[in-house]
């Protein structure tokens, strides 16, 4: 599925990525053929329930997969300046890949309390990133660290840099982690559920921060979340994932206003909207996500789908709705007409 947006540079393109997990001597096809493009300075939101494979997709891009898993097939291409680097062909912890991590592509994680090392100061953890990707001397690194903390909105940065993670509040910790990730000015920032562990009010602040980064540094952001509200706020494009495949992808306004996949539609209908009042029609999605080891044949959403038919036992192919919106469903026309 390729989105045609002529004006924007593509900085990362993922083509038919398959990543399988081999834990407990079973084969879990966590990511089973996923394709998307990330554009410079734009935010791609990947949304889906727990276990749909969105985090694994992110990990695949960074090659941070667990030991008992691997990228089976597909391409991950990072377009750096003039080169096209095939990330999937690099050694997981070899020098080329490590040079990319932290400097070109950075990642921030869900829970900053556990994601930061408790025995080292925030400053030293940020400096570590600078140490391995720049040739700055000690003094400049300290300066840069304080600068980054300040930019991320942390008050008293020189003091804070010498403090430990447990001395920070939740929101500040996340800001510190973002400071660490942005310290080498990466072209792509992957945010894996960055606000799930935070209060709603802090969430808003973090989003503001990320928006600022996007605008000031033209950083492309891949935002992973299970929260549609977050997508509506921040994303320019959205990819809806279910059981390892992207079922719908496109411009966020188009997808959210005119969903073309039954799953997307069902997701949107299951969220209460603030301000709409008591009479909203909130419908939970019937059924439950299937066991990844006992997958249904054909379209994975078949057992829970209101539009299902016999045709759906064949895995759906891409249907292009508009230039910037495509879906994997045989019944997309019906779904659209019901909107």
């Amino acid at each position: 599925m390729i989105i045609m947006e002529k004006d924007n540079e593509i900085i990362l393109s993922v083509k038919d990525l398959k990543t399988y997990i081999y834990v407990n001597n079973r084969c879990n096809r966590a990511v089973d053929g996923v394709s998307f493009n990330v554009h410079k300075g734009k935010t791609l939101g990947i949304v889906g329930e727990s276990g749909c494979g969105k985090s694994i997709t992110a990990s695949s891009i960074m090659q941070l997969l667990p030991k008992l898993s691997r990228i089976e097939s597909g391409e991950i291409v990072y377009h750096k300046d003039d080169e096209a680097i095939r990330i999937d062909l690099l050694e997981r912890n070899g020098k080329p890949m490590r040079d990319l991590r932290g400097a070109d592509i950075s990642m921030i994680f869900q829970d900053p309390m556990t994601a930061l090392n408790p025995v080292y100061t925030i400053g030293s953890q940020i400096k570590e990133n600078l140490l391995y990707h720049t040739s700055m001397d000690k003094k400049s690194m300290t300066k840069k660290t304080i600068e980054m903390l300040e930019k991320m909105g942390i008050p008293l940065p020189h003091q804070r840099a010498e403090e430990y993670p447990h001395q920070f509040s939740g929101g500040m910790r996340q800001r510190a982690m973002i400071a660490m990730a942005m310290s080498c000015n990466p072209k792509i920032l992957i945010a894996d559920e960055p606000t799930t562990a935070l209060d709603v009010t802090i969430q808003a602040q973090i989003f503001e921060l990320m928006q600022k980064l996007k605008e000031e540094h033209q950083t492309a952001i891949i935002l992973i979340t299970h929260d549609m509200g977050v997508i509506a706020e921040l994303a320019d494009d959205v990819a809806v994932m279910y059981m390892g495949s992207i079922v719908e992808i496109g411009n966020v306004h188009e997808v959210l206003r005119k969903p073309a996949h039954p799953y997307t539609k069902a997701l949107l209908e299951s969220i209460p909207i603030l301000g709409k009042g008591k009479k909203q029609n909130i419908e939970p999605i019937r059924g439950a996500t299937p066991d990844p080891y006992q997958r249904p044949k054909g379209c994975q959403f078949l057992p829970r789908c209101d539009y299902a038919s016999n045709q759906c036992e064949q895995f759906p192919l891409d249907q292009q709705i508009t230039n910037s919106h495509s879906v994997k469903c045989w019944k997309s026309n019906e779904v659209l007409s019901h909107a």
């Binding site: 991590r101 994601a115 570590e128 447990h166």
Partner: protein, 305 residues
């Protein structure tokens, strides 16, 4: 708590056979005394006072360094013990440092190479170290290295005239080595599991995401955090270090406090036995204190009080 222990020790002293006077004064002072003189001495030492008073008198003496006299030799206990202390310290501290370093090293390598042959070998070694009685190791070492191959001296600590730590080294190698062997096995097991725990945590992933080299991820991040529970666990095992030292000192005739203790248990020299027991508790408490301090240094989340 020490107070309670001191009370118990005193109780022990009182209850065991042996005249209090011979405990508290050098025997040559009382040896030729007549009954009345002895009675006067008893009065002056407060031995006719009620139990509690006598306890506090004893306690006072202890705090000032007067630990009484050995029943057998009449030498002040303080001198006897102090004379032997350096030997035991040499042995224990060497074994402690050696086993801690090796244990952590082997354990973390085991964790990193989990499931491979290296891991299996280390684990087997660990199981043996915990199962084979420490003195067996000692005896076997004695036979092989000292008696048969003649590489190392057969026990004892010094030759007259040579008195620095390094001079003791040839004699120290076997006892400290064997003791360290036993301890390393235990340290290795904790290190392995602690390291595995640490490597499973989120901050390891974050470290990797910064593109730093693997060795740094595993050691600067992984091991450094794993060290905290390892140190705590080593602390819990310190009493075993003392126990092991007692046995090893016997096997190798190492002239330390442990050997002293065993000898006096055999000869039923109660004052000495009681006081050494008392000191051992003191030693454990002191060591625990240091371990706590060390842990607080390693873990910034703990506030020093």
């Amino acid at each position: 708590m020490m107070l309670v222990i001191s009370f118990i020790i005193y109780l022990g002293l009182e209850l065991t056979p042996g005249d209090a006077v011979s405990r508290m004064l050098p025997p040559d002072a009382t040896i030729n005394m007549k009954a009345e003189e002895l009675e006067k001495i008893r009065e002056s030492l407060g031995l006719n006072e009620p139990f509690i008073v006598r306890y506090f008198l004893w306690l006072g003496g202890v705090l000032q360094g007067d630990f009484g006299y050995s029943l057998a030799s009449g030498v002040p206990i303080k001198d006897i013990v102090l004379d032997r202390l350096p030997a035991t310290l040499e042995l224990s501290i060497t074994a402690l440092i050696l086993s801690s370093i090796l244990g952590v090293l082997f354990g973390s390598i085991s964790a990193l190479k989990r499931g491979t042959v290296t891991d299996i070998i280390f684990t087997i070694f660990g199981m043996l170290g915990v199962s084979v009685p420490v003195f067996i190791f000692g005896l076997i070492a004695l036979v092989i290295f000292a008696l048969n191959l003649g590489w190392l001296p057969v026990g004892q600590r010094i030759l007259p005239g040579y008195d620095s730590y390094w001079d003791h080294m040839p004699h120290l190698i076997m006892p400290a080595g064997v003791l360290a062997l036993m301890l390393t096995a235990g340290v290795m097991r904790y290190s392995r599991s602690s390291m595995l725990d640490s490597l499973n945590k989120e901050y390891i992933r974050t470290a990797r995401s910064k593109g730093i080299p693997e060795w740094r991820v595993n050691f600067v991040h992984g091991l450094r955090v794993a060290l905290i529970p390892i140190v705590v666990l080593i602390g819990f095992r310190l009493p075993m270090l003392i126990g092991g030292a007692v046995i090893i000192e016997q096997v190798f005739q190492w002239p330390g406090v442990g050997e002293l203790f065993v000898f006096n248990v055999r000869s039923q020299n109660y004052p000495l036995v009681m006081m050494i027991a008392f000191f051992s508790v003191l030693a454990v408490l002191l060591a625990s204190f240091f371990i706590d301090l060390f842990t607080a240094i390693l873990d910034p989340r703990i506030k020093l009080e």
